[in-house]
């Protein structure tokens, strides 16, 4: 047994986190910043933070992740990191020449109280920021929130780049949240299929799913451009997908730039995608084309064809709040029963929302917003499940408890495809079903006695 010391009996822990279902804010800020075209994310802290975040993102996306660091030493930690940051700005523009430097803080620079806004002012006053170049920043102390809130903070800083001209641009802002590059691409496809002009930010498609062609582009072709970001204040509205990842930025544009916003769930599964398309239609004043209705119908068809294999199967889920809310709703819509649900990102709203979605299920639901995968494993030991959905770390639980397992979320370190095949939208729903069915039916085949092993399923 890989997790041989995990007891079935659950004791409350108030201080010790074991096998976390979250990581720290700065990595989220780094991922979001990679969705700006020509942007170099910068970690204001000691070298290890940047090295760890780059490694984690690289292992998940299997793509280069360029980011710089202020390389704090003990001296900088005592006297403040301003000198390091100013030196970094000089070197970054001289050597890498990005359009934007997107700085995020770390627990180190936050604890000593470095003020990035003031440092930027100083850099500006000293002429360190070349004309036409941008520096944006956000505060992401690692001891607050999680990778999800760090992502949200950087996305909000991107929204703050808005420079309204007073003339509407006829576009809709779409904030996709921390989803895969392929998901961002799929959202863009659906939006353009609906005939809506949009600005999607951040946009890591074309950045973290790039081609191999013999050329390395430190700043790949993808990403939301600075021009687009400046124009978000002129948009007709904002659709934020996912409260945790995208709500804050959308509301900022709403209250400060008078760009009206709606915050929806991430469009995973049938109903959440329905709401997304419907909102798109109403805000942009377009009618939904037949192609989209066809895609929806195909997803409904597959649900009906395979319902017998989903019905009342118990599921354990771990991941990030926006994803889990949509996934839980999707599973319930299949008549599956998500019974153990854990996220590491704090927030009471999460638990309430999950309880609301699962209130008619024939089983009691365990849900914890500030949970960890050790607790999830204990819940599973007490009430076993038929399916486990989560990031790669779940494979230790899946193997010990012999549970069919679908990898979905961050990080996925041992499989490929998440960068290329979306799970949002109706087509993404088909892929999720294909994956879920695959593991459930493989298990059925594996365990079926010879006399009832069947060709047709």
């Amino acid at each position: 047994m890989l997790l041989r010391h995990t007891p079935k009996e659950i004791t409350e822990r108030s201080a010790l986190a074991i096998n976390p279902a979250k990581t720290c804010q700065p990595i989220g800020a780094m991922y979001a910043a990679l969705g700006i075209h020509g942007c170099l994310p910068h970690s204001h802290g000691s070298q290890g933070c940047c090295a760890y975040h780059r490694s984690a993102l690289t292992r998940h996306y299997k793509e280069p992740v360029a980011a710089s660091t202020s390389s704090f030493t003990e001296g900088a930690s005592v006297f403040g990191g301003q000198a390091n940051m100013l030196q970094a700005i000089d070197n970054i523009f001289a050597v890498y020449d990005p359009d934007v430097i997107a700085i995020h803080t770390t627990c180190l620079s936050e604890t000593i109280g470095d003020d990035l806004k003031q440092i930027k002012k100083k850099a500006d006053a000293e002429g360190k920021i070349p004309k036409g170049k941008e520096i944006i920043s956000c505060s992401t102390p690692s001891y607050v929130g999680s990778h999800v809130t760090g992502f949200s903070s950087m996305v909000t800083s991107m929204a703050k780049m808005a420079e309204p001209t007073g003339k509407k641009n006829g576009k809709l802002n779409i904030i996709p949240g921390w989803v895969e590059p392929a998901d961002m691409e799929e959202i863009k496809r659906l939006v353009s299929l609906a005939g809506v002009k949009s600005i999607l930010f951040p946009d890591t498609s074309g950045v973290l799913n790039g081609p191999l062609s013999g050329e390395y582009k430190m700043f790949p072709d993808g990403g939301t451009t600075v021009k687009e970001l400046k124009s978000t204040g002129d948009s007709i509205g904002t659709l934020a997908l996912g409260e945790w990842c995208s709500g804050e930025a959308a509301r900022w544009l709403d209250s400060k730039m008078k760009v009206p916003c709606r915050v929806l769930d991430m469009p995973f599964g049938l109903s959440a995608t329905d709401r997304f398309i419907d909102a798109l239609r109403m805000i942009a004043g377009v009618s939904v084309p037949d192609e989209i209705a066809l895609e929806r119908g195909q997803l409904v068809d597959m649900i009906s064809d395979m319902h017998q294999y989903f019905y009342h199967k118990k599921v354990a889920l771990v991941g990030d709040p926006d994803q889990l809310i949509a996934m839980t709703e999707f599973l319930v819509s299949l008549d599956m029963c998500p019974i153990h649900i854990v996220t590491g990102t704090p927030g009471k709203k999460f638990e309430a929302r999950i309880k609301e979605i699962t209130k008619d299920m024939p089983f009691e639901v365990n849900v914890r917003a500030k949970g960890d995968m050790f607790l999830l494993h204990q819940w599973i030991k007490n009430e076993p499940v038929d399916l486990l959905i989560g990031n790669t770390y779940c494979k230790y639980i899946a193997r010990d408890e012999d549970i069919p397992f679908v990898r979905w979320g961050f990080p996925i370190l041992d499989r490929q495809g998440h960068q290329y095949f979306p799970t949002v939208g109706y087509k993404g729903g088909l892929r999720l079903l294909e994956k879920i069915l695959g593991v459930l039916l493989d298990r059925l085949d594996r365990d079926a006695p010879e006399q009832s092993f069947e060709l047709v399923l």
Binding site: A15, I18, G45, Y52, S55, S71, S77, Q87, Y393
Partner: protein
Amino acid sequence: MATTKKKLVQWDPAHVKAELLAKYPSKVARKRAKQIMINEAQGNETPEISANVRTTPGIITMRGCTYAGCKGVIMGPTRDIVNLVHGPIGCSFYAWLTRRNQTDAGPDGENYMNYCFSTDMQDSDIIFGGEKKLIQAIQEAYDLFHPRSIAIFATCPVGLIGDDIHTVAKRMKEKFGDCNVYAFSCEGYKGVSQSAGHHIANNQVFKHIVGENDAEKPGKYKINLLGEYNIGGDGFEIDRIFKKCGITCISTFSGNSTYDQFASAHKADLNAVMCHRSINYVADMLETKFGIPWIKVNFIGADATAKSLRKIAEYFGDKELIDQVEAVIAEEMPEVLAARTDVRTRTEGKTAMMFVGGSRAHHYKELFNEMGMKTISAGYEFGHRDDYEGRQVIPTLEVDADSRNIEEIHVEADETRYQARKTPAEFEALEKAGYTFKQYDGLVPDMDQGTIIIDDLNQYEAEKLVELMKPDIFCAGVKEKYSIQKLGVPMKQLHSYDSGGPYAGFKGAVNFYQEIDRLVNSRVWSYMQAPWQKNPELSASYVWE
């Protein structure tokens, strides 16, 4: 596999160096110039390189932090210690199973390596102090698992807010009675790289664990293997060879290790040091306190493995062992040589670059040599000058502000347990016969004339080097992997090997030959361009009428 095409790449080292420096602001260029060295003999002197110095802010470095060196590298591979990270969640999360240290706990042995433990500090802990939470977390870990040992690791904010983790550890150890609790002040901002973390880990392991178990260990020819981390099962292969030779490995620092191995390390009669950078401190301290001499070995490369085994056998000087080592080498080598002969038809004359570790860039050069491949540029991510130039430079090393902060512990001979392993006459006889203790000559003497040695290589320089020198393979870590491969050059990770292994010992050498053969001769590198990109002009004869 594609057929080998010999290509001729002309480069002038002085030109390459100038190109690497050309884009830098002058201050950065001056600093980097001292860390980029063209390997030219200067009389009998090894040329001097600047190493173990700060990375310039903003320059995209390969380096990590002190915490990574301490918790991630040295303490991570020990399976029966609960490694509790005191800090915000990220530090523990990123070090959770991400190095490919394998371990064999058997069906019911203690094994916490698959777990990630953290105090998950929140802002209130930063404001009001985190000691209370740490004490509670240690208690909870103890109540849940009853481990024999709990190690506490400090992260950046812990040092800043002044949590006294050592006193907490001491109190908890006294409270439990049956669980050794100790702490590491390995805040990420200390030092200039992972290297400081190695040193901190060495010190604390020596202070708190080594020598705790005086029980005699069975077996003959007892050694410790220092600086081997069982990445991809390297340590398993070395253990297999030791067993076959009749050599007893009391402890490995720290691949596939247990608390008790460390506690019993002083019962060995020889320390064999693999990774000089990460573990030489323990080797020195074991010698001073317990009288165990140390030698440098290398089990990366089949020839190097044979050489290292002979060196161990020569130390013990026992015919039984010497004969057995020869028998094992004779038995293992034919398979290695067959594989080598086969791959050399495809790898001979190809070129490699390695920028990794504090010893690995040196060790793996052996394997490339065995394949007929030339290392044209190499360097360390966190090495010191002695890893480049040899240990003779140690007395001349300047102690700067960053290394002064790393504790040097003073060790004296143990009053009762110090025991010289050989008589002065025996040591003298060995040394007269050319045997060297406590010696490491470093990477530089092994590099060819005119090759380029670069310390703390960064993203920009890596890309430039590949562009100018066109190596057939580039070796570094995961962060460098895909930017190099985008250029159409295969990249092998030599920290954690991407996948695969073991690459140590005899079987490992064969694995490595095959892996490098696969990488440098893969068909994929010929697919960079589509047919229409290779021949963009339209020809009228192909146009559909």
